[in-house]
């Protein structure tokens, strides 16, 4: 599994990583660069929303570690990683049922279930490119 497709797991420092090869902006795909766009997101909520689930998990796991010791978050994270690997091909929408059950988000409705539902998106990505990006061949 390619390294760049796993970058989205880490909290980015400046907010956005350039998408092209060698870390340089890919003008064909993402348009012209602008220092302001790269450093400051255009909306105050953009960064906090992008990393919201990540930050929540970090906070919960560190609290759990402080209360119950290292083994508790370790075991839970093992289950999360196993559940996160049950996915369909990159351009198809996976149900994430196991992950939702672990997170208890199958019993909650939030804005991410109503707005911009990927199952009903009007555009589709190109399958070949998405699989290549996922495998790190691109």
């Amino acid at each position: 599994i390619g390294l760049r497709s796993q970058l989205k797991d880490s909290v980015p420092v400046a907010g956005f990583c350039p998408q092209g090869a060698y870390g340089v902006q890919d003008s064909l795909r993402s348009g012209f660069t602008s220092v302001k766009n790269d450093l400051i997101p255009s909306h105050p909520l953009e960064l906090s929303e992008k990393n919201f689930q990540l930050n929540q998990d970090k906070m919960n796991f560190s609290t759990l570690r402080n209360i119950q010791g290292l083994h508790a978050p370790l075991k839970l994270q093992m289950e999360y990683r196993a559940a996160r690997q049950i996915q369909r091909l990159p351009f198809l929408q996976s149900s994430n049922l196991a992950l939702d059950t672990l997170r208890n988000s199958d019993e909650c409705i939030g804005f991410e279930d109503i707005l911009s539902d990927p199952a009903q998106s009007e555009v589709m990505g190109e399958p070949h490119m998405m699989v290549e990006y996922k495998l790190g061949l691109l």
Partner: protein, 275 residues
């Protein structure tokens, strides 16, 4: 349609792609002529009385200086024992209360119990704090549950206040004056309804953003009485004449008919199986 410039499907939830474009557009319009969202510019009030909670609201929704909706419903259903009045941006209050109602329904289906008002307040507080006030919803939640009668207010940044009487919206100062003057602990039902009605009426008279009718919602252990409208505005007007014109009012000067020439290019017959 396949987009060749995206590596991953867009994440669900809010999409901030247009934020930069909007900021640039606002500079172009010099003077803020961008379309304003529909605000409710409201007067909403709530009072805890002996047997439950009375919530009241006006019914006007404004879009800057124009009245956009004369009969909008500001008292939203959350669960059979909890109702919520919403002030602020109309869409935000609607969607937030809908989400809250869905979450509490799932909970009550799972556990078989009626939700408590504190649960609704906590869910709202978490949700609104997460968006740092960008969701403009000032809400008054009132309900009756196994622990008693409760009235809470939740601000757009996630602040929560538990009080026996309360008013929110642009007309809240006028309404609060009436409430401060007339509130006593353990009121009777009719007195409580009259107090809320007077408070909303003061808001309607003194505030441009509030108007039209008054809605009242009484929540008790026995059930809910949603009276819409409780008092109609005295400035209602009805249309004086019918505006439908009879056929032939407009004279026809000329008439020209051009038949479309169609030719049969291909004919296929498909047998339908009706067995």
């Amino acid at each position: 349609m396949a987009l060749s410039n995206s590596y991953e499907t867009p994440a669900p939830g809010f999409n901030f792609d247009n934020a930069a474009r909007n900021a640039a557009l606002e500079g172009l319009f010099d003077g803020g002529q961008t379309p304003k969202p529909l605000k409710t510019g409201t007067t909403i009030a709530g009072v805890v009385f002996k047997d439950g909670v009375v919530l009241g609201a006006d019914t006007r929704a404004t879009s800057s200086e124009v009245v956009a909706d004369k009969m909008c419903a500001k008292i939203h259903f959350i669960s059979p024992n909890i109702y919520c009045c919403g002030a602020g941006t109309a869409a935000d209050t609607e969607k937030t209360t809908d989400l809250l109602s869905s979450n509490l329904t799932i909970f009550s289906l799972n556990s078989g119990r009626n939700p408590r008002v504190v649960m609704a307040v906590n869910i709202l507080q978490d949700m609104l704090y997460r968006y740092h006030g960008q969701i403009g919803a000032n809400l008054i939640l009132g309900g009756v549950d196994c622990t008693g009668n409760h009235l809470y207010t939740v601000g757009p940044y996630g602040s929560v206040n538990k009080v026996p009487y309360l008013s929110m919206g642009s007309g809240d100062l006028a309404a609060l004056g009436i409430l401060e003057d007339g509130f006593k602990a353990d009121l009777e039902l009719s007195l409580a309804k009259e107090l809320v009605r007077a408070a909303i009426h003061a808001g309607i008279m003194s505030d441009l953003g509030s108007g039209s009718n008054i809605d009242i919602c009484v929540i008790t252990k026995q059930g809910v009485d949603y009276i819409r409208p409780y008092q109609e505005s005295q400035y209602k007007h009805s249309r004086k004449t019918k505006y439908k014109y009879p056929a032939g009012t407009t004279p026809i000067l000329t008439e020209k008919v051009v038949p479309l020439k169609l030719e049969v290019v291909q004919e296929t017959v498909q047998q339908m199986e009706t067995a």
